[in-house]
Each structure stands twice: as C-alpha cells, then as structure tokens.
C-alpha cells in the first residue's frame, strides 16, 4: 500500500529555535489522523513542510512518493491556519481561483459545500466573520478531490456550534480513499472523528496510536491522554 505521507528524521530550525527535531512518521490511505500538540509544538511547521511551503533542514519527506513540490501541490489540499483567499475576492472568485489552478477541483462538490456551509458566492471575503472564513477555508480545501488533505487548526477561534458544523462538513465531504491530517489543540471537540493520533511536543513525536486502541487499553479519551502526556513533559 502506497503511503501518502512519510517523514524520515525530519528537522527544521527557525533561527536558533528548533521547530521539528528528527520527526519520523507515515500516514496510510483512508485515515483521519489527529496531529495534536500545544501551541508552538511544531504542528504548523510539519503541515507546511508536507504542503511544500517550506523545506526541511534535514531528513526526507515523501508526499505520494515524491518530494514536496509542484507535483505534490496538485494532489494535496492544504487548509492553512490563515486565510488563503485574498481580501479583494468574493466567495465566488475564491472558488474560481481554486478551479483555475487545481485540476481536481469539483464544482458540484463546491456547490453542495456552499449550501451546507450557508455561504453565498456573492459574499465579499473581507466582510465574513471569523467562523464564516473558517467555513470558506474548509470549502476551498474539501472542494478538491485530493489524495491527502492537510487541515491546520480548522476549528481554531470559532464558537462550539460552528465547530460542530465544520466537523460535520469534514466527515461529510472528505474523499474516503484519501487521508486527512487535522492539526489541533482543541481535542475534546474533535476526537470523535479521528482514527489515529500523533502527539508532538517541542518538535518531537511523543506518541502515535490508534484512537480505538487508546480507548480499549487505557479506558481514557484522547483528550484525557493528551492532558496526561503533556503534564508529564
């Protein structure tokens, strides 16, 4: 089985601060993986390396068998933690932008997602609330039929009702033969959708486990385990 994402002893520094320290991991198809860690633990750096936005200082990264680059960008759908649309755009123009550049963009799916998210193509992106911007971000990411979805803090900064709506949309619209990696530190709200979790702390992988196994062997929720792991570190 082809692994969608492979990290082999990957390290990255920003100035003197190590963001990732020798991380190794792999993600198989058909999984929803939680990338968990506190603020500044290296989640976004890992996501950005996988998305081909930054290059690691050392180690090897393989996305769908290739090094991150132009080819992998066409098959990986990344939802960054900041708006990827431009402030002059309307919702429709932001979707047209995706359609123009990504061959796997599915207009029918985007239409269904717009309805689900209660967004209008005529809305100006600059006038959307934080929650609605998150919804648009997710619409842009999930309207593609990508092999790997990377969602960086998709529910950060939105109210609990909007969180549930966003998570429902994620489960409804992701491609089942692809994989989703969701980075977050708001675990209690989101752990119901995970198949597997990766916990990172100070740029190092401290735990990798199936969610079902965690529940069966420890009798704890992922949120409880997360608090234990991070309390020990």
């Amino acid at each position: 089985m082809e692994q969608l994402l492979e990290f082999e002893t990957v390290s990255k520094k920003f100035g003197s601060k190590a963001a990732l320290q020798g991380i190794s991991l792999s993600v198989n198809p058909g999984r929803i993986v939680g990338l968990l860690g506190s603020n500044g633990s290296g989640k976004s750096t890992l996501m950005r390396i996988a998305a081909g936005l930054i290059r690691p200082d050392s180690g090897k990264v393989r996305v769908l068998g290739d090094e991150p680059g132009v080819q992998s960008k066409a098959r990986v759908s990344f939802m960054p933690d900041k708006p990827q649309f431009e402030s002059w755009m309307t919702v429709g123009e932001a979707l047209n932008f995706q359609k123009d550049f990504f061959p796997d963009f599915d207009p029918d799916k985007s239409k269904r997602m717009l309805d689900f998210m209660k967004l209008s193509r005529k809305d100006k992106t600059s006038s959307l609330s934080k929650g609605m911007q998150e919804r648009l971000q997710l619409t842009l990411a999930l309207s593609r039929r990508a092999s790997l979805y990377l969602l960086d803090e998709p529910i950060g900064g939105v109210d609990p009702v909007a969180r549930d709506h966003i998570l429902d949309a994620l489960v409804e619209f992701y491609e089942e033969d692809s994989s989703v990696i969701v980075s977050t530190h708001l675990i209690a709200d989101i752990e119901r959708i995970f198949d597997e979790v990766l916990m990172i702390k100070d740029g190092s992988l401290v735990l990798r486990e199936d969610v079902e196994r965690i529940r069966l062997t420890s009798g704890k929720s992922v949120d409880q385990l997360f608090k234990e792991v991070y309390a020990e570190c």
């Binding site: 936005l53 132009v70 960008k73 990344f78 990827q84 431009e86 123009e93 932008f97 550049f101 990504f102």
Partner: protein, 252 residues
C-alpha cells in the same frame, strides 16, 4: 503564468482604472491648461513626457508590490506552479502596463502630428534622435523601452525577493543599496566590454540634457552584443530570484 497574471489584473483592476483616468485627466489638463497661457510647445511636450515618466515609475512600483505580495501569499504559493511562473507573471504585468502607457503616448504623438505640433518640436530641436536602423523609429523606440523595462524589472524582482529573504531591520535601505550597486556594476561592465560613457544608476533610456531625449544608437554588432549581455544578466537575475523564492522567502 497567464492565470496568475489574470488574478493580478483582477486584484488591481480599480487601481489601474483609476490610474488610467488620472493619466488621461493629467494630459487633458496639460493640453487645455497650456492653451490659456503663453506656453511653448516644448514645455507642453516636456510636461507630457514627465507625466508618462511618473506613471511609468508607478507601474514599476505596482509591479514590484504585486510580486512581493504574491511570493509571500500562502494562497498563491500553494498553487501547483514553479516559482518561475510568479516572475514571468510579474514581468508580463509590467511590460503589458508599460505597453498600454506607450500606446497612450503613441496616440498623443499621432495627435501632435496631426495638428502640426510634432513638426514644430522637430524644427525647434526639442529632441534629437540618431536612428540609423532599418526598423521604423516608432517600433524601435517601443522595443527599446519595453526591453529596458523588462531588464529593469528582472533586477527589481531580484531585489524584492532578496528583501523578503532578510529577517532583520533596514530592508529598504539594503534594497536601495543593492539596486544602486548592481546597476552600477552592469553599467561598468557594459562600458568596459562594449565601450560607451554610460554611468546611470538605473539602466534604460537616459535623458542627458534637460529637454533633449536621445535614443541610444549604435552599430548592429555592438547593439547585439549588449543585448546578449543583458539577456544573460537578466537570466542570472531570474535564476537567483527563483532560488530565493524556493529557499528563503517566508510565506505569511
């Protein structure tokens, strides 16, 4: 590349429309305003030339700002295109807008020609043109100015990418220093290898007297060698810009 250009033009649509209207109004003011007072046709031509120069500089600034926004924009950097496409789109943007500016200037020249002002300017010796090429002068002037714009832009885009790669303060000063240094080096190399007395900080066409525009004229062989030299230098600038975008420029 063209798709990136399409979104650059859409983004800047209102600024560009506003700029075009401002230019036309400015030219109209020069034309009508100078009718009521005793102004020589030379002064009128110089004012118009200054107006075009001013808008040409604005186009360069807009091109650089757009390029800077694009290479730092997460939405743009996620598209499956190599860094060369951002550079190509910016060069096309700058050349396209300058071509529009030159087209407006061309219309004004045609108007001057039809009302006899152009003939009067020639007669007064307001500008001199040494042109001994088989290419018609208007086409030659157009190509020279667009080529100068393209070459200058390769330098400016490199400097923009460089400043976005620098993490410490004083980036604008460094950018200015690099522009002056590289331009002076190119001028020196041109003079050294192909002769000439050019010493301008910014390469391109030059004004040597207050009211005399001189289009450079040289032998075909020297001209070709200069062109090849600048082509190679421009290619090196583009290569360096690609390397900086790929390895150093931080995405916001």
């Amino acid at each position: 590349m063209l798709r990136l250009l399409k979104y650059d033009l859409k983004r800047d649509m209102y600024v560009l429309l506003g700029g075009t209207i401002a230019l036309l109004l400015g030219l109209l003011v020069i034309e009508l305003g100078t009718k009521s007072i005793t102004t020589s046709v030379t002064a009128k031509a110089v004012l118009s030339f200054m107006m075009y120069t001013f808008f040409g500089i604005l186009i360069l600034i807009a091109t650089c700002r757009g390029f800077q926004a694009n290479i730092c924009s997460i939405g743009r950097r996620l598209v499956p295109l190599g860094s060369i496409h951002y550079i190509g789109a910016a060069l096309l943007y700058g050349v396209l807008l300058n071509a529009v500016l030159l087209a407006i200037a061309g219309l004004q020249v045609l108007y001057y020609d039809s009302v006899g002002i152009l003939e009067e300017l020639w007669r007064l010796g307001a500008f001199t043109v040494n042109w001994n090429s088989s290419i018609p002068l208007p086409l030659g002037a157009l190509l020279i100015i667009l080529w100068a714009t393209l070459f200058l832009l390769t330098l400016l885009l490199l400097v923009m990418a460089l400043t976005e790669s620098i993490k410490f303060k004083g980036r604008i000063l460094i950018a200015l220093a690099v522009i002056v240094l590289l331009s002076s080096l190119i001028s020196w190399a041109e003079n050294h290898f192909f002769g000439g007395l050019s010493s301008q900080a910014l390469t391109g066409f030059r004004i040597e007297d207050q009211s005399q525009m001189i289009l450079p004229s040289q032998s075909f062989r020297t001209g070709l060698l200069r062109f090849i030299f600048k082509l190679v230098v421009g290619a090196v600038f583009i290569w360096l810009t690609v390397k900086l975008i790929d390895n150093r420029v931080k995405v916001d």
